[in-house]
Subunit: 210 residues, 2 copies
DNA sequence: AAATTATCTTGACACTGTAAAGACGCGATG
DNA sequence: CATCGCGTCTTTACAGTGTCAAGATAATTT
C-alpha cells in the first residue's frame, strides 16, 4: 500500500492530514482572502510544491477542508439536539443554536463553506456532508409542521425562512456585524440565541398544518 | 482646480470614476476572490500603477466601491418602500424584498459589502451609507412594534431576527444555495419573497408591544 | 540486491500588489 | 508668451503567489 497507519511513514508521515490541519490554522489566522498555499506548506514544514502530490491545487485542498468542516458542522448540530428536549420545537431551536454557534466558534471554516467560491461545491464528499446538515433543518421543520415541507410551496418558504434566519444571524455575527445583540450574547450566551430563534419562530411553525 | 467636469480633462478624463466602474465590472465577472487591481487598470485602459494615484491600495478602491454599493443598496430599499402601501407591515416587507433583490441583482457588490474583509469597514463614507440602510430596518421594526426596539432586549432580538432573515436568504441565494425556493422565484418573482417574509414574520411584529 | 514507485525538493514561469523613479501635459506664474 | 511647477500617468523593479516540470531521495516491491 501507500503509507503506514500511525505516523512517520516517510519524510513527513501523514502529510495529507498535516496539510489539512495546517490549512485550518492558516484559515483561522489569515482568513480565506489572504489564505496562501505556500503558507500552508510552510506551516507543515515542507516545500512549497509538496502539497501538489496530495491535492491537485489550492481549490482541491480547500474543498477537502470544507468537507471536514461540513461534517463537523453537522455533528455540532446533532450534538446540540441530543442534549435538548425531544419535542420538535426544542429540537429546532437546538439545531439553530448549533448552527450559529458553530459559525461563531469556527468563523474561518464557516466562511469557507458558505462565503467562498474557491471550494468546488460539487465535490461528492462535500455535497454529502452538506446535505446531511440541510436534512437536519428539513426534518426539524417537518416535525413541527407534521408534513414534508419540500412538497408544497408553503413548506419550502418555511424551510427557506428557517434556514435564512439562522444563516443570516450566523453570517452577521461572523462578519463583525453583530452589534445589535453582541451585549446580549456576552451576557446570556447561547440562551440569547435560543430566545432570538424562539421569538422569531413564525406562527406556521406552531400549528400542525394550515 | 484639478480637473474639468465633463470628460477628457487629461490623459484619461475622470480616471477615478472610470476605475470604480471598471472595478465593478471586474467584480461581476471575476468575483471578489479573483479580483485583480491590474485587471481593473487594464479595463480602464491605463497602466497597472495608475490606480495608485487615486486609491492608496486595492483595499482603498474596494472600500470606495463598497461605499457606493451601500448607497445604492439604501436607495434600492427606499425605492421599494415608496412603491408599497404605507402601513408598517407592508413597508417592512418592501424593504426586505428590496434587500434580497439587491443582493440577487448585484451579487458582486453584495458580497463585497457583507462577505469580504478587504474593504476597510471603518471608512466614514462606508459607515454612513451602511448605517442608513440599517436604520431603514430599525425604523420598520419600530413602526410595527410601536417603540424603539434598540432600547430593550426583546426589541434587539427582533431587529436581529428581521435582519438575519433577509440577510440569510440573500446570502443563500447569492451563494448559489437557493435551491429550496429557486423554482418559486422563477415562477412568482418578487411575490415569492413577499410571501416568504410575510409567513416568517413572528408574532411579536404583529402586536403593538409585549 | 536491484528496480520500481511514491514522496518530496528545486527551479522556473506567469501572475499579483506595491513602491520608486522617470516622462508627460496641463495650469499657473513671471 | 515662455517658463515653471505640479498633477497625472508610465516604466521599471521587487517580493510574493500558484502551478508546472525536472530532479533527488526514501520506501516498497521484485
Amino acid at each position: 500500500m501507500t503509507q503506514k497507519a500511525g505516523k512517520a511513514a516517510y519524510h513527513h508521515g501523514d502529510l495529507r492530514k498535516a496539510l489539512l490541519e495546517a490549512a485550518e490554522r492558516e484559515l483561522d489566522e489569515k482568513g480565506i482572502e489572504a489564505f496562501s498555499l505556500r503558507g500552508v506548506a510552510k506551516r507543515a514544514g515542507v516545500s512549497h510544491a509538496a502539497p501538489a502530490h496530495h491535492f491537485k491545487d489550492t481549490a482541491a485542498l480547500l474543498t477537502a477542508l470544507a468537507a471536514v468542516a461540513a461534517e463537523r458542522f453537522y455533528h455540532a448540530m446533532k450534538a446540540r439536539q441530543a442534549m435538548a428536549r425531544p419535542d420538535p420545537h426544542a429540537q429546532f431551536i437546538a439545531s439553530g443554536v448549533g448552527y450559529i454557534d458553530f459559525a461563531v466558534q469556527n468563523p474561518g471554516l464557516f466562511k469557507l463553506m458558505f462565503g467562498s467560491e474557491r471550494p468546488k461545491s460539487d465535490d461528492p464528499s462535500l455535497v454529502e456532508h452538506a446535505t446531511n446538515g440541510f436534512m437536519v433543518l428539513v426534518k426539524d421543520v417537518a416535525d413541527m409542521t407534521r408534513r414534508n415541507p419540500m412538497e408544497v410551496d408553503e413548506g419550502r418558504l418555511d424551510v427557506m425562512a428557517a434556514w435564512g434566519l439562522v444563516h443570516g444571524v450566523a453570517n452577521l455575527l461572523v462578519a463583525g456585524r453583530g452589534f445589535v445583540i453582541d451585549a446580549l450574547l456576552e451576557r446570556d450566551g447561547d440562551a440569547a440565541l435560543e430566545r432570538l430563534i424562539d421569538r422569531a419562530t413564525p406562527p406556521s411553525f406552531r400549528r400542525p398544518s394550515k
